[in-house]
């Protein structure tokens, strides 16, 4: 027996005796729910109303585990003589959590805050195929999403606050002080909406009429797949145009024009104005979203106004 053994043995006894008197490290998980750190990545929750089926998340997803189906819907003009608009209606939004690697890129990339991290983690299944969760399940998790963490003291104002603080454009005489945005917006938007038909440059109107003819009239669920095949000449080149028209700001602007009170994203007056301008200029921005889906029915559903004809 060497010399160092006895002190070592005593040290061992002391260590175990010490930890006997201390608190255990055991997490009594099923009985006591764990105290998760903020921004825990438990599951991805979906605010369905915010989703414009822009497909950014599905495309950025490294393992392609997001499935989105959507169709277009015609919205009647808000003013007499106005132009009918289109918007995307989300039919299906599913995330396959057996593939998801919880990288959070979809949440980062979502321009409309439709996806959020929820700390909820108890959604294990006995069959791996049951981990494909549709939008109702993803939406139910929204209730568990914590409020965003407070800004650091002394940090810059968030973008939307600075935008709201900006003085309105000179033309808009009404209100104009900061924070009046909510009250002012409807009038301002309507003002913007009217010039669009007045402009009557030929391309937008033709676009609009064309889109009314082929895209499905308003019933949300069914017929986009039915009508699409009849009018699908499968153009070769539209991809470049699609991506060109994508900028997000335009699309946020499309909603206020339509006047859907619950849906309107929190874009403030100034942005909305700008966006509405652009929307008027392009005229067709909302129609271009490709509804790529991974189903077998997907290719037929690819309606695409510009490339056609």
């Amino acid at each position: 027996m060497g010399d160092g053994i006895l002190p070592g043995l005593v040290k061992g006894l002391a260590t175990t005796a010490k930890s006997l008197t201390r608190h255990t490290h055991t997490a009594e998980y099923p009985d006591v729910s764990p105290a998760l750190p903020p921004r825990s990545r438990g599951v991805i929750a979906l605010t369905e109303e915010n989703c414009t089926s822009c497909m950014l998340c599905a495309r950025e997803c490294p393992d392609w585990c997001i499935y989105i189906d959507s169709h277009k819907e015609e919205l009647p003009p808000t003013t007499p003589g106005g132009r009918a608009r289109q918007r995307n209606v989300l039919d299906r939004f599913a995330i396959d959590f057996s593939l998801c690697m919880y990288c959070g890129i979809c949440i980062e990339v979502c321009p409309f805050d439709a996806l959020h991290w929820s700390p909820e983690f108890e959604y294990a299944e006995l069959d791996i195929r049951d981990l494909l969760h549709e939008k109702d399940r993803l939406g139910a998790w929204m209730a568990t999403v914590p409020a965003p963490p407070a800004l650091d003291p002394g940090s810059a104002d968030p973008a939307e606050v600075t935008a709201a603080a900006k003085p309105p454009r000179a033309a808009g005489a009404a209100g104009g002080t900061r924070g009046a945005g909510a009250a002012v917006r409807p009038t301002r938007v309507r003002k913007e909406a009217t010039p669009a038909p007045a402009g009557t440059t030929t391309p937008p109107t033709t676009d609009a009429t064309r889109s009314t003819t082929d895209s499905t009239p308003s019933t949300a669920t069914a017929p986009s797949t039915e009508t699409a095949p009849t009018a699908t000449p499968r153009p070769a080149t539209p991809a470049a145009e699609q991506t060109r028209v994508m900028p997000a700001v335009e699309r946020t602007a499309a909603f206020p024009v339509v006047e859907q009170p619950p849906v309107t994203p929190p874009a403030d007056g100034a942005e909305a104005e700008q966006a509405a301008d652009q929307a008027a200029a392009h005229g067709d921005s909302t129609q271009v979203l490709p509804t790529v889906s991974t189903d077998s029915a997907a290719p037929t559903e690819r309606t695409d106004e510009e490339g056609r004809e």
């Binding site: 027996m1 043995l9 175990t16 005796a17 930890s19 006997l20 255990t24 490290h25 055991t26």
Partner: protein, 322 residues
Amino acid sequence: MSGLPPWLEVVVRAVAVLAAFLVLPLLVGQTEHKVMAHMQGRLGPMYAGGFHGWAQLVADGVKFVQKEDITPAKADRWAFRLAPFVALIPYLMALAVIPLSPTVVGADVDASVVLVLAVIGVGVIGTLMAGWASANKYSLLGAMRAAAQLVSYELPMVLAVASVALAAGSLSLVSIAEAWKPWWLLWQLPGAIVFLVAALAELQRPPFDMPLADSEIVFGAFTEYTGLRFAFFLLAEYAGIVVMSLLFAVLYLGGWSGPFEQWLGWLWTLLKGFLVAVVVIWLRVSWPRMREDQLQRLAWVWLVPIALLQLALTAVGVVMTS
């Protein structure tokens, strides 16, 4: 007890000893579960029985009963099946003669020290039988290690006990405990340490669990055992802890001497024994397993000489005081 007819008294005593034999090891086992867990920063069993998993070992017993009783095809059937009982029953007999107080004792035998030591030595035969009859190399290796360990550690243990018996001038456990005085704690300290270490080794408890060494020889002699027979081996281990702890309490800690020893003597013995059992558990948690050569070296180079010195010291003390 004296009012009962002899046959009834025998039955009552036997039943009481059997009850103690079945309850005390479970108590020690549960203590081990909990103490070891907390020493490792865990909680241990928490569910069985509701309150902090108190019924965990009962649940384990139920599980063992339900398991299939497998006898390997090449095994020596009778030896294989008999081995668990050979390992278990000696401790039952030892427990019967260990007094909790002068009155609370299963069977008051004159030379109970000799009987206990002799009977405990038989237990290893069960391990040897199990190892040989299993027709398994690991089992055989484990049994051989167990036998070698017993041979080495029986000697210092007997010498240490002989020292106490010499000091008390008696081979009866009751007389030894009654002759005990507090200053013996110091006088018999080397012997007590030797006894504790040797007892650990006889029980094949860590750090002396070379015969089981699950990282080397699976589970030693018990490798091939399943179900209830395996449970009996485990029970034998914990019954062994109970016997050794009580023996230590009676020999070296004065047994039932304490406040109100006329009424609470048995409780003092049990408490002291329990304390020793906790120490046994503590050593298991804290120390790594010894290598076979270290194990033999410890016995022959350290324990035997210390025990002999203790014997000489005791002899000097006895001669001086008498």
